[in-house]
């Protein structure tokens, strides 16, 4: 069996020679081999492909690579060195698709055939190849259906996971213009079979490495018109498609979600949250809420009603009970322990006791937050992004931009006047810019996390923490301590570093006032001041910034219970 990765690879040649050809779709849990043989900063797909090929039991007899990008060129070097006896072939693929490119590619493909014949002893038969081309049909590229959200996928190669999540959420993939989603374009020219075939390969929807990729705009515009929203997919450490995303953002009218994945199974939770939040923003009337097949506990015949929202975050689990008048009856904030489910049970118990009601009195419970799916007593779950939107609108309807800095992630959310999410960006990949980072620094400075902000306000000397990575930043702080810098000044520098990160998130959603800050870090006056300086505007902070998400979840529950 031969493996390949690129849509420009001439797989039909090998198939006509009776070879099984399989596109490599890595499903890996780590990059151990890649980190040893390549470098951590190589594109995650290339690293994943290396893991896949090197894992025990892998049955590839050879790999056909194209010169598609820098990371793949290096993948070839490593595979070639690791498997000298296998057919590891680098096919030089032109980026120019005019006649000169076609002629050169045909020549390269013929050289590859000769190399393969020599390696295997098999013979290429042009007539059998022509026969195979005649029989193949092209696949339909567009599949819009009514009665569901239609989503288009653009950008870098996307694995099956995205499609699977979309379908599990009741949405459908109307088109997938990534290189792994397209059907192959096969041209059959009886007079010049190989030339026609090569012309067909090079005239596929161009990827970003091709010279004529500027022509993608028109095709994307046409396709985008037919869908409700677009997921723009990028792969970590593959930078080519981010350019297009940055460009499309200028003129694309359709809602678009930037989704970065790293081809590991671990990132599935993060992908799910983003996709779910995106679908919720496309369909704010929330008729696509995920049901967990539970019976709705309605109060019979009485007008009185209680609902609950529960936000399971990494640092705290927050619960809010709301009545039928949309008033908050009680709330609780408990520290999230090792198990999200146990903390949720504790928060439930506490909030019920504060409200003086029993669990049975709750008509509906909606969970949100990172641990939302682990709360067994919740009837439904909604992402924290939509819930923050609802919650923020509840506390202050003038809010258009929310900055939420939680324990393990930070996000910026753009709302419309109805409090519906129009756009959002999240950072949940690195600790810098999150509450965890502040905790880490507070520990290093030997001060209580609750005091860090207040201490920062007394700063007299401006210190800049330049490192972008939390580990680097901690080392930088240690150096500052060693240089006898004042704690207050260091704390202030750290608050400004967080604000800098936050500002770049906020800019990406548009910086429309009024602004609100939510999450535990909103209680830190040092960070609040630094963010306000950055954006040149005041931040609205409600008395309990940690319960905004849970409040939003409670509103969802109330709307749902009312039917």
């Amino acid at each position: 069996m031969l493996g390949y990765i690129c849509k420009y690879a001439p797989v039909e040649i090998f198939e006509s020679m009776g070879e099984t050809v399989k596109r490599i779709e890595p499903q890996v849990t780590n990059f151990t081999q890649a980190d040893m043989r390549m470098h951590p900063n190589i594109c995650s797909f290339a690293k994943g492909a290396l893991e896949e090929v090197m894992q025990p039991g892998s049955d590839y007899d050879g790999i056909i690579l194209t010169t598609c990008c820098d990371s793949i060129r290096r993948l070839y070097d490593v595979l070639k060195a690791e498997f000298p006896d296998k057919f590891i072939y680098m096919l030089d693929t032109p980026r120019i698709t005019k006649e000169a490119g076609i002629a050169l590619y045909e020549r390269r493909i013929r050289e590859m055939i000769r190399a393969y014949e020599k390696h295997t002893g098999k013979t290429f038969d042009e007539e059998a190849f022509a026969e195979l081309l005649r029989e193949r049909d092209e696949k339909e590229q567009l599949a819009v259906s009514s009665g569901r959200l239609n989503i288009g996928i653009l950008g870098a190669r996307a694995n099956e996971e995205i499609r699977r999540i979309l379908e599990s959420q009741g949405a459908g993939v109307a088109f997938d213009l990534t290189c792994t989603g397209l059907g192959r374009k096969l041209l059959y020219e009886p007079e010049a079979v190989m030339t026609g075939y090569v012309r067909g390969l090079l005239s596929q929807f161009p990827c970003m490495r091709m010279e004529q990729a500027s022509g993608r705009d028109e095709l994307i515009r046409r396709y985008a018109d037919s869908v409700d929203g677009i997921i723009y997919h990028t792969v970590q450490f593959c930078d080519n498609y981010a350019y297009e995303y940055a460009w499309l953002k200028n003129w694309m009218k359709k809602p678009m979600l930037l989704l970065e994945t790293d081809y590991t199974k671990q990132s599935e939770g993060q992908i799910l949250t983003r996709i779910q939040a995106f679908l919720e923003s496309l369909d704010p009337k929330q008729d696509k809420l995920i049901k967990q097949e539970k019976t709705k506990r309605q109060t019979k015949g009485t007008e009185k009603m209680y609902v609950m929202g529960i936000d399971s975050g990494s640092t705290s689990t927050n619960a809010v009970i709301m009545n039928e008048k949309k008033e908050i009856v009680a709330f609780s904030v408990v520290r999230t322990g090792a198990k999200a489910g146990e903390s949720a049970a504790k928060a439930l118990e506490e909030v019920l006791s504060k409200a003086g009601i029993k669990k049975e009195d709750l008509a509906l419970i909606v969970s949100t937050g990172y641990g939302r799916v682990s709360i067994s007593f919740a009837d439904e779950n909604v992402t924290e992004i939509s819930c923050h939107g609802k919650g923020a609108h509840y506390f202050n309807p003038n809010i258009r931009t929310i900055l939420d800095i939680g324990g393990q992630d930070s996000k910026a959310i753009h709302l419309n006047e109805e409090g519906e999410v129009k756009d959002f960006v999240m950072n949940d990949k690195c600790a810098a810019g999150t509450g965890r980072f502040l905790e880490m620094i507070a520990r290093t400075l030997e001060i209580d996390i609750a005091e860090l902000g207040a201490i920062a306000l007394t700063s007299t000397e401006k210190i800049e923490i330049t490192s972008m990575c939390s580990v680097f930043a901690e080392s930088e702080v240690i150096s500052l301590i060693a240089n006898n810098k004042e704690k207050a000044d260091i704390a202030d520098g750290v608050c400004h570093a967080i604000a800098g990160k936050a500002y770049s998130l906020l800019r990406r959603v548009g910086l429309e006032p009024d602004f609100m800050m939510t999450g535990g870090v909103a209680k830190n006056p040092g960070v609040v001041r630094a963010v306000e300086e950055k954006i040149g505007a005041k931040l609205y902070i409600c008395p309990e910034p940690e319960i905004v998400g849970a409040t939003g979840a409670a509103i969802y529950a109330l709307e749902k219970a009312r039917g």
């Binding site: 010169t67 490593v78 680098m90 120019i96 930078d239 350019y243 940055a246």
Partner: protein
């Protein structure tokens, strides 16, 4: 240099406040620095490196001062063709470096990232895109880029064509080195020349190109001689001196001025005392701002960078009778093209000829083509018993490079080299005693 620092801070502040009105101030600083490098060169620096700094400062200040006099390029774009039209070439990498002189790289990088450009992209490209997209740096009439040596080239220029309307020629450099590839690229170079004729209204003179290639051959020969001399004599330079030399070899190669400069380097170094410290062959970019590296490699008679692959990335002698074919061969055979084994071969040949004590490869943030093969090169160097250190960092963005981590690695490596030397001396002594 209190005034200089104040001016840098002032320009940085003004740029962030009024991005579209700060270019005059940036340019003024470049012009003042050009004057400074001529009348008040850095003391302690070898004279040749002083002259080199002045020449590169002039290239940037003069070009930016006359928007019609230059095109954007990347470092592998054939500047020889631009020279035939009286145009200079300013590359992404060099512009990014010069703008970082105002400590503006963080502002530009953040700007680019906030528009959606990937944080994992090469920082040179992010700085460049941010500088242009924010409206700080004005745009020229035309640009050219090769696909060599990284994916960023085509994408950066295409992005700026769409956003800022700067048209460009894309030169697709094939991976394979054979006649078909050479013909494919030579044709593109001919077409590009036609494009320059049309765009700038000047007739192309092939004789000028031939002369330029002759000068280039002579310059390269002298540069190799200089590297040999630099492995024997102490020639005080700075990390940035090697970047200047890389700039010259890519943006001014083929000009009589640069030939004279390299000739001067060769003559000047001959007058210098022997170098008895550790000789380092540097691979890839140099983070010129990194304090620990500056401490060990700026004007230090114990450790000297004797050569770098980014300066001599092409060793091709050019046949001026077939100038387009010659240029195509030069680009295709560049050590950054093709497999990493090809690169490892050329670096090995350089090592065999210059006998360095060690090799240091700097893996610049976002540079997949270089970082991805670093372990292959290390294995190759191990076969030759040449110790090699791989340093991770960022050539321009200080926030991505932690000095403490680099310092620890570097110092441990240098200590290791000293131990190796002592072991070598001891075993040498042992052998001599046995003979006696």
């Amino acid at each position: 240099m209190w005034i200089v620092d104040k001016y840098i801070d002032y320009v940085k502040e003004q740029t962030q406040k009024n991005p579209e009105q700060s270019f005059d101030k940036i340019l003024l600083g470049f012009k003042a620095n050009k004057l400074r490098t001529k009348v008040l060169p850095k003391g302690g620096l070898a004279r040749g490196y002083q002259k080199l700094e002045a020449m590169m400062m002039s290239l940037v200040a003069d070009s930016l001062g006359k928007p019609d006099s230059y095109v954007w390029g990347n470092i592998f774009a054939p500047c020889e063709l631009m020279q035939c039209f009286g145009l200079s070439t300013l590359s992404v990498e060099c512009l990014a470096c010069y703008l970082s002189g105002y400590h503006l790289e963080d502002y530009f990088i953040d700007y680019a990232q906030s528009t959606g450009i990937a944080p994992t992209l090469c920082s040179y490209h992010k700085t460049f895109v941010g500088a242009i997209d924010s409206g700080v740096v004005p745009v020229p009439r035309y640009a050219v880029t090769t696909s060599l040596s990284c994916d960023g080239n085509l994408n950066t220029f295409r992005y700026l064509e769409k956003k800022k309307g700067v048209p460009f020629t894309f030169l697709d450099v094939p991976y394979e080195d054979d006649d078909a590839s050479v013909a494919y690229l030579a044709d593109q170079l001919r077409d590009f020349t036609g494009e320059l004729e049309r765009r700038f209204g000047k007739k192309f003179d092939v004789e000028k190109l031939r002369r330029s290639l002759e000068i280039e051959n002579e310059t390269r020969k002298l540069l190799i001689e200089f590297f040999h001399l630099q492995s024997e004599r102490y020639y005080p330079g700075e990390l940035i001196s090697h970047l200047y030399l890389m700039m010259g070899m890519h943006l001014m190669i083929g000009t009589p001025e640069f030939l004279e400069l390299v000739r001067f380097l060769v003559e000047d170094i001959k007058k210098c005392p022997p170098f008895e410290g550790k000789k380092i062959l540097w691979v890839h970019l140099l983070p010129f701002y990194q304090e620990s590296l500056q401490h060990y490699f700026n004007e230090n008679d114990k450790y000297q960078i004797i050569a770098s692959d980014i300066i001599l990335d092409s060793v091709e002698m050019l046949d001026e009778r077939e100038p387009f074919t010659a240029l195509a061969k030069k680009i295709i055979r560049n050590m950054y093209n093709g497999s990493y084994a090809h690169k490892a071969e050329i670096v090995s040949a350089l090592a065999e000829s210059l006998h360095p004590d060690a090799v240091i490869q700097f893996c610049h943030w976002g540079c997949k083509q270089s970082a991805g093969g670093s372990l292959i090169l290390k294995e190759e160097m191990q076969k030759k018993d040449i110790p090699m250190l791989i340093l991770d960092g960022d050539g321009i963005d200080k926030r991505n490079s932690h000095d403490g981590q680099i310092k620890t690695r570097l110092e441990a490596f240098l200590e290791m080299l000293d131990t190796l030397e002592k072991d070598e001396e001891r075993s040498q002594q042992g052998r001599e005693e046995k003979v006696c």
